[in-house]
């Protein structure tokens, strides 16, 4: 679900096809019938944005099925490995009682006190400004890691009968998600939903597992993280997490988009998912930060080791125990600095200079015209890319009115530089430099290194306290070649971590994340990556085998290939079955062993009760595989961490043609982030002027905003222009001909494309109405060999409350036959100018 596996990740899809050849069922649920659907053994066409309803019906079916309620495997897995038995606070009220809202609503956000395990309390909630920051930050800044829950341990009911235990809450919560009710929401026949649920049940158990894959078809929604949470609930109930052939497998869309989250260029995180400190008192000092972010049970118990080692990597000799390792040098955040606020700040003149490195928001950014206008209002803009992009040429539509100084610096491609990617399976793979980049083209590492070198020189003589961090920043990477490229191997060494010494020759590489220390004796750029460069570059390892290939690259953490794999053995540590044997307890050796690195303390016995007075892994019990959670359990109910509820709920998309059939009073996610600024209007719920559902998607032959593909003639020939997919029924209604021009309209603007009239798109019957869905690939823009209108001209800036991801996969629109006319035609004229600029740029 939520992915077109066959077309967007075709090489990985070979494994799904191979499984089907061995008899596996392949189920595809998607708004569009595409090549993945064509290969599937079952297909359900759903209305875009109704995934929680569909998954909710599966959860409901499982919980009521005889098999699930009697099979000892499901009962033991769920009772021992999840929080199903934990009792929740007495004051908790579910959406069924409060008209679509959970208890704890305060004007515009939730206070999750009533969502807690009984008898526990989140300390950070006591802070007066906590709720304000909770509302504005992308992550629930203080509480994700769970270090500061006081009270407990919470009561559990192993019989799972207590009406306030998680399993009973779950049963009641999902009870309205019957196949019939969900059919009216999704537009899928009820019997098809039931058949999918039966298929999942039949293929899960002690000797069978089911895997779920998804991509941005799930994430790019105002309910995105909650969609994935529903899948997590389903997979935990079915015992499909931490076991071979199971899991929830994200198909990520950029070579190292996983890496850029692990080692984030994101405003709210430091490397390894440590939170960026906020201005609050809870983050005032290193001690208060650690008290609120870590120090508890589980892997986050070592937050001090992670952060102190990071500060040593950043500030080196300047970071001492006496000055809290320069903790005060970290900038503090006081609000949302994510993608959309960035562009609002450009419009308002607060953000004045921008480095744009390998991203093309003029095409890839929702409400693309708003993004282009933002770029035009900057004082200066540095664009680094391989080819000319629409973001670099945004000024061309209004040269006389645009005061921006624009620098366009050519970048090196992957084969022209050393470095590593972290691919979708957390696999870090090194790539070697093969040739020198042409002309002025340089790696981004070269650019950042030399920018940093120049800034350090400019601030060298400053005595301002604010300039001390940049003076202290360690920037001692060896250089090589005429272009003075930093030696990337040393950057990876720093990411891995080393014993602290002032010079590289005296530093010894760390071997394992357990080597990190909190006393300043180790430096480590990202604790999660410890082990990737032990003196040997493990990311460059190339020993394949025919199973999980532990000798090929390095997967974090600790080269574990399957996360939480302790769950592949039962509570006593024995394999659940011979077929699904993976990691197990060896009583003779006194350790966990198997086909992978155990994702668990190697010598912790399965019957270890855990030391409640300890922190870190000593506090985790031997039957608790989910070591990132303080209770070690898989969460079927989220006492904290989600800002829009402790259980997933069906809300309509922000723009929707129908009303919410389940909760009339809370139609859309009540905590949705929206930007009510000039230039970003929304289509109202069920506005008859915008009757159709539109979803955007990728093609096999192009990549994201097109910067890496639309200048390539081979790909241009394969996929030469923008088009939209519509059904024959919609074409007939609107008088649209196959391959004729159409113009689409939303409150943000218009875009034109060729019509592709196909039976792959089918009208859906929803609440007694016919709903048409339109598909629009979003790669196109005005520059390149292949040009066309950007689908993002139509999309709006609206985002989910937990991670600020936009809702690109569903909004509403109108469609008519014919091309753009009047004001809308400016986009086409601008596109032509952009191409001219490109030629000038490239021919020199």
């Amino acid at each position: 679900m939520g992915s077109n596996f066959a077309e967007c990740h075709p090489v990985a899809f070979r494994f799904a096809l191979r499984a089907r050849e061995h008899g596996a069922e392949l189920v595809h649920v998607d708004p569009r019938f595409n090549r993945t659907s064509a290969h599937a053994t079952q297909y359900a066409q759903i209305r875009a944005g109704t995934d929680i309803a569909f998954l909710g019906a599966l959860v409901n079916h499982v919980l009521h099925s005889e098999r699930w309620n009697t099979d000892p495997f499901f009962q033991e897995y769920v009772r021992r490995f999840t929080n199903a038995a934990t009792i929740i606070e007495r004051g908790f009220r579910d959406v069924g009682e409060l008209g679509g809202m959970f208890s704890g609503w305060e004007d515009d956000h939730y206070c999750p006190d009533t969502w807690q395990y009984e008898g526990t309390q989140r300390v950070v909630h006591l802070h007066e400004r906590y709720t304000e920051l909770c509302r504005i930050l992308s992550h629930e800044a203080h509480s994700l890691h769970g270090g500061r829950t006081v009270g407990g341990p919470p009561p559990r009911d192993p019989t799972l009968q207590d009406p306030r235990c998680v399993l009973q809450l779950l049963r009641r919560h999902f009870a309205p998600y019957t196949p019939e009710a969900v059919s009216e929401i999704c537009g899928v026949p009820a019997e098809r939903i039931t058949r999918v649920a039966e298929t999942l049940l039949a293929n899960s158990g002690a000797d069978r597992t089911t895997a779920v894959t998804y991509a941005v078809g799930w994430t790019q929604h105002t309910t995105g993280p909650q969609i994935i949470a529903t899948a997590a609930i389903l997979q935990l109930l079915l015992g499909n997490i931490g076991r071979p052939g199971g899991g929830i497998l994200v198909l990520r869309g950029h070579a190292t988009i996983q890496g850029s989250t692990d080692i984030p260029t994101l405003y709210d995180m430091l490397p390894g998912y440590l939170h960026m400190p906020t201005e609050l008192d809870t983050h005032a000092t290193l001690d208060t930060y650690i008290a609120n972010e870590g120090g508890g049970a589980g892997q986050w118990g070592y937050a001090r080791e992670y952060l102190v080692s990071l500060l040593k990597a950043y500030f080196g000799e300047a970071a001492t125990a006496e000055n809290d390792f320069c903790y005060e040098y970290l900038p503090r955040i006081d609000g949302d600095y994510s993608h959309f606020p960035m562009f609002v700040a450009m419009h308002e003149g607060r953000l004045q200079g921008l480095f744009l490195m390998g991203q093309n928001p003029a095409v890839g950014g929702p409400n693309a015209e708003y993004q282009r206008e933002g770029l035009r209002r900057l004082r200066w803009l540095v664009v680094r890319d391989i080819f000319l992009t629409e973001s670099a040429t945004a000024w061309e539509s209004d040269p006389a009115g645009c005061d921006t100084e624009v620098f366009l610096l050519p970048a090196a491609t992957v084969v022209e530089k050393d470095g590593s990617f972290t691919n979708t399976h957390r696999l870090i793979q090194w790539h070697d430099k093969a040739v020198e980049p042409p002309g002025d083209a340089r790696s981004d590492a070269w650019f950042v290194y030399h920018l940093g070198r120049r800034l350090k020189a400019l601030y060298r003589r400053s005595s301002e306290p604010r300039d001390r961090p940049i003076q202290a920043l360690t920037w001692d990477y060896p250089l090589h070649g005429d272009g003075e490229e930093p030696v990337i191997d040393y950057v990876l060494r720093e990411i891995n971590g080393y014993t602290w010494a002032p010079t590289w020759s005296a530093r010894a590489q760390l071997q394992h994340m357990a080597d990190l220390r909190a006393d300043g004796s180790t430096a480590c750029g990202c604790w999660l990556y410890a082990g990737v460069h032990t003196g040997r570059n493990v990311a460059a390892a190339r020993v394949p085998d025919d199973y999980v290939s532990p000798g090929w690259g390095f997967s974090w953490p600790n080269n574990v290939r399957l996360l939480y794999n302790r769950a592949s053995a039962d509570a006593l540590g024995n394999p659940w079955s011979e077929e699904k044997k993976y990691v197990w307890w060896d009583e003779v050796l006194g350790r966990w062993t198997g086909l992978d690195v155990p994702d668990f303390p190697a010598e912790k016995r399965p019957d270890d009760p855990g030391d409640r007075d300890a922190t870190g892994m000593a506090a985790v019990a031997g039957d608790s595989p989910f070591v990132m959670k303080p209770d070690g359990k898989g969460w079927l109910f989220f006492p904290f961490g989600m800002k829009d509820g402790p259980m997933p709920t069906h809300y309509e998309p922000w723009e929707t043609p129908v009303h919410n059939a389940l909760y009339a009073e809370a139609e859309r996610n009540p905590v949705t982030k929206h930007w009510d600024v000039p230039g970003n209007p929304y289509n109202d719920v069920a506005n008859p002027a915008y009757p159709h559902v539109i979803t955007t998607y990728r093609l096999t032959e192009h990549h994201t905003g097109g910067g890496m593909t639309r200048w390539n003639s081979w790909l241009a020939e394969l996929q030469p222009g923008a088009f939209v997919e519509i059904s024959p029924e919609l074409a007939a209604e609107e008088g649209i001909e196959h391959l004729g021009w159409v113009t689409l309209r939303t409150a943000r603007g218009e875009a034109e494309a060729r019509a592709f009239v196909t039976r792959r798109m089918r009208p859906l019957s929803v609440q007694g109405r016919v709903i048409h869905q339109i598909g629009f690939p979003w790669h196109f823009g005005g520059d390149g060999i292949v040009t066309g209108d950007s689908a993002n001209l139509l999309a709006s800036m609206v985002a989910d409350p937990n991670v600020s991801i936009h809702e690109g996969k569903v909004f509403t629109c109108a469609i008519r036959a014919g091309r753009l006319t009047g004001d809308g035609a400016r986009a086409v004229a601008g596109a032509g100018g952009g191409t001219g600029g490109a030629r000038r740029g490239s021919e020199r």
């Binding site: 090489v11 390998g358 093969a434």
Partner: protein, 191 residues
């Protein structure tokens, strides 16, 4: 004239595969024409560098073939347990992604209200960018918020990166931004 004709004919017969196979007793080399003998793989004499596909996140292994400092071919790495030598259309296009006349190769500059790009030296551009960064940072610096809480940041400068940048590049960007107090740091990983 006749002698020459006979000579040509004789040569033609000698080159006739059947005659060659009889004369040289068998197949093998005898079956190879002179033209075929002159042909050779375009990968002959190349060195091979192991790389990874820069497009989606599946992480297909590639082999980059290099001759005289130029990329001559990029193909799937048959050793990789991920792609076992296969590539999709984009991955197979990695060659043209790199060897492409449309690539940017010169530092370009567009001045305020300018109507065209101007060629500039990389060094000048880097100096100017560093000075603009310092000027904007210092002018927009916020030491504390209204209530006196420490902020120590600038909202005036931003970094927006793509998700095809290497881990090491992202590491350096974040590190530099922390040092300079830049908080508008975002990546394609967000949206």
């Amino acid at each position: 004239m006749i002698r020459r004709s006979l000579h040509v004919l004789g040569n033609a017969i000698a080159r006739w595969p059947v005659a060659r196979q009889i004369a040289e007793s068998g197949l093998g080399d005898a079956a190879v024409s002179a033209r075929t003998r002159r042909l050779h793989s375009r990968l002959e004499g190349t060195s091979t560098v192991e790389s990874v596909c820069p497009y989606c996140a599946v992480g297909c292994g590639t082999l980059v073939r290099v001759k005289d400092g130029q990329v001559v071919d990029v193909e799937g790495n048959p050793e990789s347990p991920i792609n076992q030598g296969t590539l999709c259309p984009k991955g197979a296009d990695t060659f043209q992604y790199t060897v492409n006349p449309n690539r940017l190769t010169t530092a370009l500059y567009r001045r305020p209200r300018g109507t065209q790009w101007e060629e500039v030296s990389l060094d000048w551009a880097m100096d100017r960018i560093a000075r603009l960064t310092r000027e904007t940072r210092d002018r927009t610096w916020r030491d504390t918020d209204g209530a006196g809480r420490p902020l120590r940041h600038t909202p005036g400068v931003g970094f927006l990166g793509g998700a095809a940048l290497d881990n090491e590049e992202n590491y350096l960007i974040k590190k530099l931004c922390v040092g300079a107090g830049i908080v508008f740091v975002e990546n394609q990983a967000r949206i």
